[in-house]
């Protein structure tokens, strides 16, 4: 109920602004107070800085790839080593984006900040474990930097055997990095599961949790159940390289396809680690900015869990061309289609939520709408790849590249940016320039489509992925794609400038700038160190009926009817005892 002024006869409930001794950003000073902090919010901010740095680095690599593909014979790298350089660049782009950015982006950076606040808890269940998973992330990142410097890693981010076991590039460094990052991910997931299970304050029932928490919970389940398998796979790969254990290496009777099975047993669920938190973010964004109760709350909540569980049964669809039995491929193909059901349930529920809502086209909402558009394309093209007949044609072409970029960039990255703009005022207590934010959302949307739509066409015409050079007939489409990348880069830079500028020039953010009903909007922006002095009053997270726009102070406030203090009655103890 955004419109209009506050009805009279009501009390305004607003936490106001934090003092600098309450504010989690300023309540203690010095580098060590950050580096050794156990506060989930500060850890979240440190993660945010970390993943953004990784994203920036891997983004530059992506730019290099696209610039190189501007000309059929390759425009950036030249000389006899040109193709090797290209291979290294796309390998590091993939590995850094997947392991250092997308997987920890929403769950670790935003999840750390939001989960306890949304839940109404003071912190996650294991703050020390939380800090240690951040440092594991840092250690994993260092290993990746070492792999970058030791160079020559050109296996692709999947480390497929037998190439990875026979090449003498820095596979061991990179896989050790991924192994360590896996533990970081496991501990984060474990922490969130325990937090959500045991730290809910009174009144916070499972079905009063914001959908972001449901999505985080589903994600955490996958992180805990799938990542250990990646861990042992990478460990066996390292052992294979060091001692030639002969499990994956055909030279010693091993089976390279076993590696693919092990790898995708983790990495396909990992795709849902990447996208499920985005679903959660979008559910919240759509509802808040449409100022309307989310449509089909339980369906969205259960579909997250369904995706998490079904995600474990479909890994084989990465290997339709690797030599599996015909029956196996049919079963995997059929199971793959089942995942589209819960995904579609979500999309329809979001659309139904927007229907007849009073939509504010704020920056987060712009990102949320482009998410729905892009994710739908990404999801639907997935069906082409899950179909056996078409997959034989499309496997390892640019169609696949375009498909998973639509899901991971168009899906996760756009949702991540939307979430960042949505919760930025809460995290840092500053409002950004709304116009700038909207422009960046538009430019990113256009740039992204310009980059990846042509790649669908390229792929279906037979352009294979991971090639440094190509046939001149593909040049136009490749060039369009490269222009799109530049536009996308400009859009991301605008976002960055808008956000960073707000830190210096932004207005002070009110506690509830968007009219959200979840608990994080009930504490000040930025939240105080303890989040909530006493367990907060938990209501329906999507009930906007008592939230009103206070045009005088440019903020949303929760109102409650004036209460008269009832005369104090003396209870009659004798009767009370007897009746119970």
């Amino acid at each position: 109920m955004s419109a209009g002024s506050i009805p009279s006869g009501n009390q305004i409930k607003d936490p106001g602004y934090p003092t600098s001794s309450e504010n989690y950003l300023t309540n203690s000073k010095g580098a060590l107070s950050w580096l050794l902090t156990l506060d989930h919010k500060r850890i979240g901010v440190m993660y945010l800085i970390g993943v953004m740095t990784a994203f920036f680095g891997a983004g530059l690599l992506a730019l290099l790839i696209r610039l190189h593909l501007f000309r059929p014979e390759g425009a950036v790298f030249s000389g006899p080593e040109a193709n090797n350089w290209y291979n290294q660049v796309f390998t590091l782009h993939g590995a850094i984006m997947v392991f250092l950015f997308i997987i920890p982006s929403i769950p670790a950076a935003l999840g750390n900040f939001l989960v306890p606040v949304m839940l109404g808890a003071k912190d996650v269940a294991f703050p020390r474990l939380n800090l240690s998973s951040f440092y594991l992330w840092v250690a994993g990142a260092l290993f990746f930097i070492a792999a970058l410097l030791a160079s020559r890693l050109d296996t692709g981010w999947t480390f497929y055997t037998p190439y990875s076991t026979t090449t003498d590039t820095s596979v061991i460094l990179a896989t050790s990095g991924a192994f360590i990052l896996g533990f970081s991910s496991i501990f984060t997931g474990l922490n969130f599961i325990v937090t959500i299970n045991t730290m809910r304050p009174p009144g916070m029932t499972w079905f009063r949790m914001p959908l972001f928490l449901w999505a985080t919970y589903a994600t955490s389940i996958i992180q805990v159940l799938a990542t250990p398998v990646l861990g042992i796979t990478l460990l066996l790969l390292i052992a294979e390289k060091v001692m030639h254990i002969g499990i994956f290496d055909p030279e010693f009777n091993g089976d390279p396809v076993t590696f693919q099975h092990f790898f995708w047993f983790y990495s396909h669920p990992a795709v849902y680690i990447m996208i499920l938190p985005a679903f959660g973010v979008i559910s919240d964004l759509i509802s808040v900015h449409s100022h309307k109760r989310i449509f089909g709350y339980r369906f969205i909540a259960y579909s997250s869990i369904a995706i998490a569980l079904l995600g474990f049964l479909v890994w084989g669809h990465h290997m339709f061309t690797s030599g599996m039995g015909p029956l196996t491929t049919i079963i995997f193909s059929a199971l793959t289609f089942t995942v589209s059901v819960p995904s579609a349930i979500k999309v329809f529920n979001w659309l139904a939520t927007m229907y007849k809502g009073s939509i504010s086209l704020t920056t987060p909402m712009c990102f949320a709408i482009s998410f729905i558009f892009l994710f739908t394309i990404g999801g639907l093209t997935g069906l082409h790849l899950g179909t056996l007949a078409t997959d034989m044609h499309l496997h390892d072409t640019y169609f696949v590249v375009a498909h998973f970029h639509y899901v991971m960039v168009g899906g996760t990255l756009v949702a991540f940016l939307g979430a960042l703009f949505h919760w930025w005022p809460k995290m840092f207590g500053k409002m950004y320039n709304e116009t700038g934010g909207r422009i960046s959302a538009l430019v990113i949307f256009l740039g992204f489509n310009l980059t990846f739509l042509p790649q669908f066409v390229l792929g279906s015409r037979g352009m294979p992925r991971r090639y440094a050079t190509y046939d001149p007939e593909f040049q136009t489409l490749h060039q369009v794609s490269t222009y799109g990348t530049l536009l996308l880069g400009v859009g991301l830079l605008i976002s960055l400038v808008v956000l960073l500028r707000s830190l210096y020039k932004g207005e002070r953010a009110p506690a509830n700038p968007w009219g959200g009903a979840t608990l994080e909007w009930q504490c000040t922006s930025p939240p105080p160190f303890y989040n909530f002095d006493r367990p907060p009053l938990v209501g329906d997270p999507y009930d906007f009926s008592d939230i009103f726009w206070d045009s005088e102070n440019e903020r949303y406030v929760t109102i409650e009817p004036d209460r008269k203090i009832a005369p104090v009655e003396q209870p009659e103890p004798v009767h009370a005892e007897g009746n119970h």
Binding site: I193, T198, M199, M243, G246, I247, N253, F262
Partner: protein, 373 residues
């Protein structure tokens, strides 16, 4: 009596920072029960990840055993059942003492707790000692993962200059020396707390060498025994080899002029070798083909893979034992400090669960690797 008072004092010591939290209750928990439940759920989830971590190796085991059951049965001969059985017993006993330790921590029996933790640690050390004997013995024979596999059945005990056992023992010797030094220094300084910690830890460090001794006695008992029945493993292998050689040779000598049959035999042997299954055709040659496969079992590509899986599984298990030892030492120090009381015994309980899981994994490893002949 004094321990109870001390613990009670501890519990209400640092009221300070907020509310009336006892010192063992972290600030973000409301009640000790909530803290305990969180930890319990956390450790169970962690154990699930551990099981999944091992599941990758169990999968590899299942796949390769399905492909080459004969390799697994043949190679299992080289694992010493006695040593495996002793280790199983030791670990089972350590699980008992661990469970007892949890009980002690719940009932505020601090001395019992320290004793039980020390026994658990000692069992862990004995386990590692016996394992060291097993490993070093195999390394000397060249029974190594596929890439390093150098076992030669005609010369199963090659002369080597490397004393593997010594290298394994070296870090434990330093450990023992360090702990003894610590004990002496704290005795001299009269620091009671340090003495209380160092005493049980000295016993623990010695236990590694008890394990070594135990392993040696069992091994030597084995070989003296073999004078009568023949050294179990070697003789069995030698028999298989002889049988293989003989029957192939017999057949060839019977048919000496037929060089075609001879080369076909070799081809078949190679084929079935790489295909992983024997090719069944025409009666007479089948037996030749199969036997010659058995003959080839002790190669890098066959036995090597078995030992790869053996080392991966037992090695990762041993690493878990090492981590467990670390946690148990931490608990022991805290137990000496009297940190635990009926309201706060979570850490003992969690480490206990972890220890039981490590034990359980060994209980699966033992029959899967040692008892499949």
């Amino acid at each position: 009596m004094s321990t109870i008072e001390a613990a009670a004092e501890n519990a209400h010591d640092a009221h300070g920072h907020d509310h009336d939290h006892p010192s063992f209750l972290a600030h973000h928990f409301d009640t000790p029960e909530q803290q305990f439940d969180s930890g319990k759920l956390g450790i169970w989830l962690f154990l699930v990840t551990e099981i999944l971590f091992f599941s990758g190796m169990f999968c590899a085991y299942a796949i390769f055993r399905m492909l080459r059951p004969d390799v697994f049965e043949g190679c299992s001969q080289f694992l010493n059942t006695k040593l495996g059985a002793i280790n199983t017993g030791v670990l089972l006993f350590s699980s008992l003492t661990m469970a007892w330790a949890v009980r002690c921590s719940q009932t505020r029996q601090n001395k019992g707790l320290v004793a039980m933790l020390a026994s658990t640690l000692s069992c862990a050390m004995i386990f590692l000692g016996v394992k060291a004997i097993e490993y070093s013995h195999k390394w000397e024979m060249g029974l190594l993962p596929a890439g390093l596999f150098t076992f030669d059945q005609n010369n199963p005990h090659p002369e080597t200059d490397t004393h593997y056992l010594f290298y394994i023992c070296l870090p434990f010797m330093f450990l023992l020396a360090g702990v003894v030094l610590w004990l002496i220094i704290s005795l001299v300084r009269g620091n009671e707390f340090h003495v209380k910690c160092a005493k049980p830890l000295t016993v623990v460090a010695i236990c590694f060498f008890v394990g070594i001794g135990l392993g040696m006695i069992l091994e030597s008992g084995d070989s003296s025994h073999s004078e009568e029945e023949g050294l179990e493993e070697e003789v069995m292998m030698a028999e298989a080899v002889e049988l293989g050689n003989e029957s192939v040779l017999q057949k060839i000598s019977r048919d000496d002029t037929n060089s075609g049959a001879k080369s076909e035999l070799i081809a078949r042997a190679r084929q079935s070798d790489t295909a992983g299954t024997s090719i069944v055709q025409e009666g007479q040659i089948i037996s030749g083909a199969i036997v010659s496969v058995e003959e080839d079992v002790m190669t890098k590509r066959q036995a090597g893979v078995f030992f790869s899986i053996y080392y991966c599984m037992t090695g990762v298990h041993a690493i878990h034992i090492l981590f467990g030892i670390g946690f148990l030492v931490w608990l022991l120090v805290r137990a000496v400090r009297e940190d635990f009381n009926p309201q706060y015994f979570g850490p003992v309980d969690y480490v206990g669960l972890y220890w039981h899981l490590v034990d359980l994994i060994w209980i699966y490893l033992f029959p899967l690797l040692y008892l499949i002949r």
